[in-house]
Structures are given as structure tokens and as C-alpha cells.
Point group: C2
Chain length 515, copies 2
């Protein structure tokens, strides 16, 4: 067994069963090792941002890490934007980054760079396996580190000679796949209950670790006691739709969020952090807590928020019954194609257990609103703000849940970043319907330009926010990567296309032409 095989065996022993891969020469031993370790499935992507985004999507749905195989510093860099999103989603992930042979690094060959420095900002754990005998133990360490809690990115650097050298030592035993979140002390629950009872207008703010089926149900019970429940604007995953408790969501723009929170005197954080504006703007607040509002914490990111919510519900004497969202299946939309009509169509056709990956930017919120009473589904948000996530995320989600349908919602500007992911959907025959919100602009930036008080857009500025010259032809792009595609220009056309796409098997793309 060589070092590469030891890495792969350790991953498999720890339950890591997939590796989104973009290998190069320094990763050839890993490539060859896949044939000797059938428990880890390699999936080829054409660009590392697809690999890291897919690993994120896989982790969000499977609840355990996926691995990636990346080619030295440049491969890791290419994966950086979706590593950033995954870090913000607290998704567990194990990157295997090939490197030059240990003795070769000193010569600073063309592909040499400081991989550790590039990995550190994204990673909770970075180490290099400097010999074959350390490879298994460090892989086990990496998997354990990625589990947190909360989850994070572990990056193992694997020099080529470590990979090709025979292992002498016996591999160390596998780590538990993921440590459970720490329990919240009873005292913290009591304190929270007391504070809630004393407050005139309290809210709970739930972050990703709190927003599980169990956590949401408990929050719904607490809502029954008259406490408003909010969730973070961008959650890694939110179970929602008919039959589930439907919390409100923190609004994106700071002044609107503060307006919505007016009069709140207690904000209780549950697996979340003090809310802040996504961006700063001249003369606008950074922290989204109203004046005079106290901020308390029920559970930190690494703690068991769902159990804490249940304990809190009990402490408050909350009823067992929860007021859940009723079904809201809209009528067939007609006329102009808009994000709202798209949302209506999705609510009409998305089957139970659909996974929705949202990188639709300005189009996302209308769809979110229109699908509040759709069949039960999971909504996966853009957690780190680095656009180009929804195509890769959908790949990972579809591979984690092959029996479920996946919808990938993309702004046209966002989709262009990781368009190569369509090829992997075609190659793997994934049940993903990719929707492109083709408004031919970085629409959000037209809003942001005015909010940042940068002045009226002149012709140069306008051109920098415009994607209409030329218009991208998404039907051709999809075809180029092997994904069947159609263009919809009105609500009826989109509705029919989506119904067809969700009824069929394998990937499909719909270019939704918005004006």
C-alpha cells in the first residue's frame, strides 16, 4: 500500500465515499488508487470551483464530508470561491491537494507555490503529509477536524513522493466520522427562558445549526408562546414548505432588517451570531440590532441548538402542537415571465423532497416567497456571497440524494462562473433542472450602485454591470456541455418546460428570459 492508497483507505474507513476531482500529474497516484478502493467514488469536474461547490452540496445534504482532489496551489485557488461559501455554510469537507515531491520543492519548479498559505484562510485544519507513513493518520485527523463541531474545511497537502512511497507503518484506526455537537447546559436554557419571559418583544434568531427538522419543530412550539422566530438570511439548508413551521427570515438590506426588528428588546441567538449587514454603506448601520435590544445566546455554533430549542420549549411550557405552513399551490401563471411566476411554477411542480439550490441573486427572494407553501423541500442558500455556487451545489446535492429532484436557480452572471459544472451533470446523468434567470445584467449591482452612493452610472459603469452585449445563449451553452435545454420567454412556456424537466430523468436547463 502506498501513501495515496493509505489516504483513500482512511477516507473510506471514515465513511467519506466521494471525491470531486480535478487531478494533474502530482495526483496520479491518487487517480490510480481509486481502482483499488471502490468505496470512494471519484467524480471528475472540469474546474475546481465545481469540485469544491459540489463537495459543499454533498455535505449539506448527506451530513458528512465529501473529499476533493485538487492540483497544487493553482487548483486550490480555483476552488477558493466555493471553499469560501462552504466555510460559511460550516460544511465539513476534506481537500486532498497534491504537491511536488518533498525533495523537489526546494527547486521552486513552475507549479510550486505556498499551498499552506493559500489553504489557511479557508480551512480549520491544514497539514502536509511529509511521508507515506504519516498519510493515514493525517487523513484521519483531517476527517475528524472537518467534523468540528461546527463543520469546517480540512486541507491535507499530499506531496507526490508521499503518495508513491510504500507505507511501512500500520494505518491508525479511523476516527469517528463526526463528533456530535456539544449539549447546551440546563442553566443556559433556564436563563434564556427567564429572559424571554421578561422581554416585551423578544425574537429568536436561528442559524444553520439550529435549522434542522427537529430544531424548526421546537422553534415552532416556542412561536406558539408568542415569540417571533427568525432565521438567518443565508442558511446552509432549510427544510420548508407545507407541513413545516415557517419562520421569518432576516431581511437582506440592513435598514429593512432594522425596520422589521423595530421595538424588539431581546434577541436570542440560537446557533447564530449577532446579525450584521452583508455590506457596509455610507451612513448605514453595520450591526442589525435595534437600539436598546439585548442580545443573548442560547447556543453557540458548536452546540446542539436543536436539543436546546426543545429544552427551551419545554421550559416555557410551550404546547406540543405547532402551527405549520399550509399547502399553497398557485394557479398556472400566465403572461410575463418574472421571478414570481417562476416561483409559482416551482411551487406547482416541484415534487416532495425537492432540493433547491439558490444562487439566483435578485431572483431568489421572489421564488423563496412563492414556494413557502410548496411541497416539503430543502432550500440551500448562497452562504458566503461568492456567486457561482448553485450549479456545483446541485451536483453535490444530487449525488448525495440520488432519489430526490434538484433545482438549481442561477442568475445569468452567477452561472457564468461555474458553467463547466453542466458537463459533470451530463456525465453523471444527474436529476437536476438548472434554471437561468437571464436578465442580461448583474441586476443586483444596479441596486448596490445607488446604495453605495457611488453616483449615477455613466456609460462605462453601466457597461460594467451589463451582460446584454452580447447576450449569452444558455441553450447553446448547455448543449455544448451535453445538457438538453430550452428557452422560455413567458410564464406559460416556463411552466410547461419546468413540468417536463421535473418529470423527466437526467439533467435539463431552462433559460428563463426575463425582459
Amino acid at each position: 500500500m502506498n501513501g495515496a492508497e493509505a489516504v483513500l483507505k482512511t477516507l473510506a474507513d471514515a465513511g467519506v465515499d466521494i471525491c470531486f476531482s480535478n487531478p494533474g500529474t502530482s495526483e496520479m497516484q491518487m487517480v490510480a488508487a481509486f481502482d483499488r478502493e471502490p468505496r470512494v467514488r471519484p467524480v471528475l469536474t472540469l474546474f475546481e470551483g465545481v469540485a469544491t461547490g459540489a463537495a459543499d452540496g454533498y455535505a449539506r445534504m448527506a451530513g458528512r464530508p465529501a473529499s476533493t482532489l485538487l492540483h497544487l496551489g493553482p487548483g486550490l485557488s480555483n476552488g477558493g470561491a466555493n471553499l469560501h461559501n462552504a466555510r460559511r455554510a460550516m460544511s465539513p469537507m476534506v481537500n486532498i491537494v497534491g504537491d511536488h515531491a518533498t525533495y523537489h520543492r526546494q527547486y521552486d519548479a513552475p507549479l510550486n507555490s505556498d499551498i499552506e498559505a493559500l489553504a489557511r484562510p479557508h480551512s480549520v485544519w491544514v497539514k502536509s503529509a511529509e511521508s507515506a507513513d504519516t498519510a493515514a493518520a493525517l487523513t484521519a485527523e483531517a476527517v475528524a477536524a472537518s467534523g468540528g463541531p461546527p463543520g469546517g474545511i480540512a486541507t491535507l497537502i499530499l506531496p507526490a513522493d508521499t503518495a508513491w512511497t510504500e507505507v511501512k507503518a500500520q494505518p491508525s484506526p479511523s476516527p469517528p466520522l463526526r463528533r456530535a455537537p456539544l449539549p447546551v447546559a440546563g442553566k443556559a436554557v433556564e436563563a434564556a427562558a427567564k429572559a424571554l419571559r421578561a422581554a416585551a418583544k423578544p425574537v429568536l434568531l436561528l442559524g444553520t445549526p439550529a435549522v434542522t427538522e427537529q430544531g424548526l419543530r421546537a422553534a415552532g412550539r416556542i412561536a406558539g408562546k408568542g415569540v417571533r422566530i427568525l432565521v438567518d438570511t443565508f442558511l446552509a439548508r432549510q427544510p420548508r414548505g407545507a407541513g413545516r413551521f415557517a419562520p421569518d427570515k432576516m431581511l437582506y438590506f440592513g435598514e429593512m432588517a432594522l425596520g422589521d426588528l423595530a421595538g424588539v428588546d431581546l434577541m436570542l441567538l440560537v446557533g447564530s451570531r449577532t446579525p450584521v449587514a452583508f455590506f457596509a454603506y455610507p451612513a448605514m448601520p453595520s450591526v442589525l440590532v435595534p437600539e436598546g435590544c439585548k442580545v443573548e445566546t442560547l447556543s453557540a455554533l458548536h452546540e446542539d441548538s436543536a436539543a436546546a430549542l426543545e429544552a427551551l420549549a419545554d421550559a416555557l411550557g410551550a404546547p406540543e402542537a405547532v402551527a405549520v405552513q399550509g399547502p399553497l399551490l398557485p394557479a398556472a401563471p400566465k403572461g410575463d415571465l418574472t421571478p414570481y411566476s417562476i416561483g409559482d411554477s416551482i411551487a406547482r411542480w416541484a415534487p416532495e423532497q425537492t432540493i433547491i439550490c439558490d444562487d439566483a441573486v435578485t431572483g431568489g427572494l421572489p421564488v423563496y416567497m412563492q414556494t413557502r407553501g410548496a411541497r416539503p423541500h430543502d432550500w440551500l442558500s448562497l452562504t458566503g456571497g461568492a456567486i457561482g455556487q448553485a450549479i456545483p451545489l446541485a451536483i453535490g446535492a444530487a449525488m448525495a440524494e440520488p432519489e430526490r429532484k434538484v433545482l438549481s436557480l442561477n442568475g445569468d452572471g452567477a452561472a457564468a462562473y461555474t458553467v463547466q459544472g453542466l458537463w459533470t451533470m451530463a456525465r453523471e446523468g444527474l436529476d437536476v433542472v438548472t434554471v437561468i434567470f437571464a436578465n442580461h445584467a448583474y441586476r443586483i449591482l444596479n441596486i448596490e450602485l445607488s446604495r453605495t452612493r457611488a453616483g449615477n452610472a455613466g456609460p462605462q459603469a453601466r457597461r460594467l454591470l451589463d451582460l446584454g452585449d452580447p447576450r449569452m445563449d444558455w441553450v447553446s451553452l448547455a448543449k455544448g456541455f451535453g445538457v438538453p435545454a430550452v428557452r422560455a420567454t413567458d410564464a406559460e412556456g416556463f411552466d410547461a418546460a419546468l413540468a417536463r424537466g421535473l418529470a423527466g430523468e437526467g439533467p435539463m436547463l431552462i433559460e428563463a428570459v426575463l425582459g
Copy 2:
């Protein structure tokens, strides 16, 4: 004048006249500022790897830095692979990376990350402009730092509040655009001449700084004294073709390079470094210097290699006349389409002063060989080994030299990384013919798999190196981004398509189907 305007004015004053841009909210002031600073042309790209690769291509042809505008840590990461190539090309470049407002960083909003840490591995200079009053002076510092010598990447972090705040201080005067390389001492030239005379079988190894028109001519004179002239395998730019001195090139694979160098007793480095293998392989040498061969240096990377070569030629009493490459215009190729027949067609049709950007991987060397006697042209190599360079590089080269034709040579696997660059070619109407070497595989990796002794490829390994399931349809992909395209399946068809593409105006893509 706000901080953003001060940055842009300083760039313009220093002669930086283009900015490859991927802006987001934190860069809105820069976006607005372009309309008030007409001397800097903003060019929109759909992905940051296109922006950084284009800046590299611009610098290689214009001999001065381009700037980029990138969106926080994720934008910088996305640009990382082509920053790596640019660093290895010693291309001057100035990155402006937007950041959160200084006072907002402490809240660790979703897009927050350690930008400085991410920039450092690529950059010779990284600073953050923490106030509007420092913006101009730091921009000037950045431009100066990028100039070297040798050239490098300077990264200026520009927080949003720096950008939107009015400047009180007077901007400092602009720096000289680029410092000249340092002269080589006469003593070093004399020592080199003496060593060459004493050697039985000497070679000169020229790196990027030495391979200018002037440097090549002087090297050709030295060749007239019986000294073999070699150049690095991957040069940022090589003027070549009929009428120019044609040095040999260091071979890519180490054992072949060493075979080629057998018996050499002196290697004189001219703007280069001791040659090393691109990758390490089991039981293969890292350093490509034959046993018993002395390595001496005429000029370091930051010194004036071309002038040193002239002085050395004089010291050796070399003739003025140089044996140059004669014209070699092949007959029309027939039959199978191969990298050789493609090279023949390029030699036949590329007009004088064509710029060839090579990321064709296994296809590159055959084209290089077949074009040795083509009309005078420039050849731009993949300097850092991070594939996905030739489409972006061609954009920058075409914008630096709008009167010249540009050829972008791409492996299909390589082109998939930065395919979005085709859109910028269409948008800007660039005279670029993009050739895709469609062999439906990471062909080089099939070779590397055996060289790394990773064993025979099993089905999983084969699938990780295969791009044929499904085949990418490059005609559709190009059409999707607004670039006219044709498919060629035989040598005659490619020859006709290339002739048409080079005779026309604006971008065009040819999918060259290789088996």
C-alpha cells in the same frame, strides 16, 4: 475626489490604461469612477481567472502593467491560477481588490476573509489602503512594485470606505512606470567570456528577460562562435519565425533534457535559473544539469540580460551577422487532422506579427516545431503550468496590440477552465482565432500516469482522464458566448477554416477534432 478616483487617477498618471474587471458591491465606487477617468479603460470579464490572465497577456505584449478589479477574497481566489502563471511570467500587474469598509470588517460579514493572506503567495507587494488619504500614494507604490525588475504582481486592497471617502491630502507624484533592469557589471561579462572559452561544450540558457529581439540577436551572434543557445521551456514571450535567430529549447521531460545536454561542461544562465524538472518522478532527477557540468550566471532575473548578451558577444569577438531561421511555409496539409497539420496550417496562414498564446498542452510542441519558419511572430507560453490560460491571455494580448492577429491554442481540458473568456472576446470584438485541440481527454495525464509509475489505469482512473463522455461541443459553447465557430475534422477543413478566420475580423473559434 474620493479614494476610488484617487486610485484610478494614479493608475492613469502612471500609464496603466486598462482594468480587467469583475466588480461587486464593494467595488461600486471604482465602477463609478471609470466615467470620470477616461484614461483607464474598464473591460468586463465573467470570471476573475479571465481578468488576471488577460492582464498577464496585456503586460507580456505592452511591457507595462494592466490592472484588475476583483471582488474581495473570493474574487481574488478565482483569479489565482492565472495570477500564478503571471507570477511565473514575471509580468507586472496591479490588482485592486475591494474589501469591506474598515469598520465593518470586525463583524466578519459573510464575504469577509483574509485577503492579504490569499494575495501574499502571488504577490511581490500587498498593502491595504486604510484611508482615502493613503489611496493615491499606495497605488503609486503598487505600480512601482509591479515593475520590479523583474516584474511582479502588486495587490492593493481597497476597503469600501476608503473608496467612498473624499480625499483631503494632495495625491503624491506618480512613480516612474517601470524601473529599467540593472546593468550587468563588465567583470561578470569578462568572467563569462573566459569560462566559455575554457569550456569544451558550453551552452547558454536564456530565460524570459533575455529573450527579447535584442537579446536573441546577441545570442545568435554568440552561436556564431560555436556556443549552443537554449531557451527555457516556458517563456513569457518569444519572438520567433523567419528572419530571427532560432535557439533550441530545453526539453520538457527531464530525462530527455539531460540526454540532450549530454557532455555539456558549462551552462551559463542568462536571465534564467538552474533548470529543474517540471515535476518529480520516482527515480528521476530533479535538477536538469548533467554530471560534471558547471553552472555559472551571466545575469540574474532583475538584470539587463539583453545588454549583457551584447557585451558578451563583443567580448567573444562574435561576428555581427547572425544565422537566422529561413522561411518555411509548408504545403497545404492533407488527410488526418493532427497537431502537426495544425502547425502547418498556422505556418501557412498566420500573418506577420501574429501573437500565439499556447495552452495546447500535448498539442503545443508540434505546432511550435512546425511554425519555426513561419512569418515573424511572438509565442507566449504557459509559464506556470496552471491550465486555462490561453483564452484570457489572448484577450489581453489583443487589447495590447489591436493591429495584430492573435491565435489562442487550447487543449479542450484547458479551455474548459476559462471558457467564459470567449464572451469578452465577442463583446470587445477582438481579432482572436481560438483553436480547441479536441482530443476528448486530458491527454498529457495519460502520459504522466505511466511516468509517475502509478500503475496501469483501471476503469476509474481512465474515466478521470477522459473528456469524451459526453464530448464537449465547442461550436455550441462558442455560439453561446457570441463567438462564431466551426468544426474541422480533417487537415483540409482546418486549413480552410483557419485561413478564413485569420482573414476576417473579430473573434472566431475552430474546434479541431483530433480522433
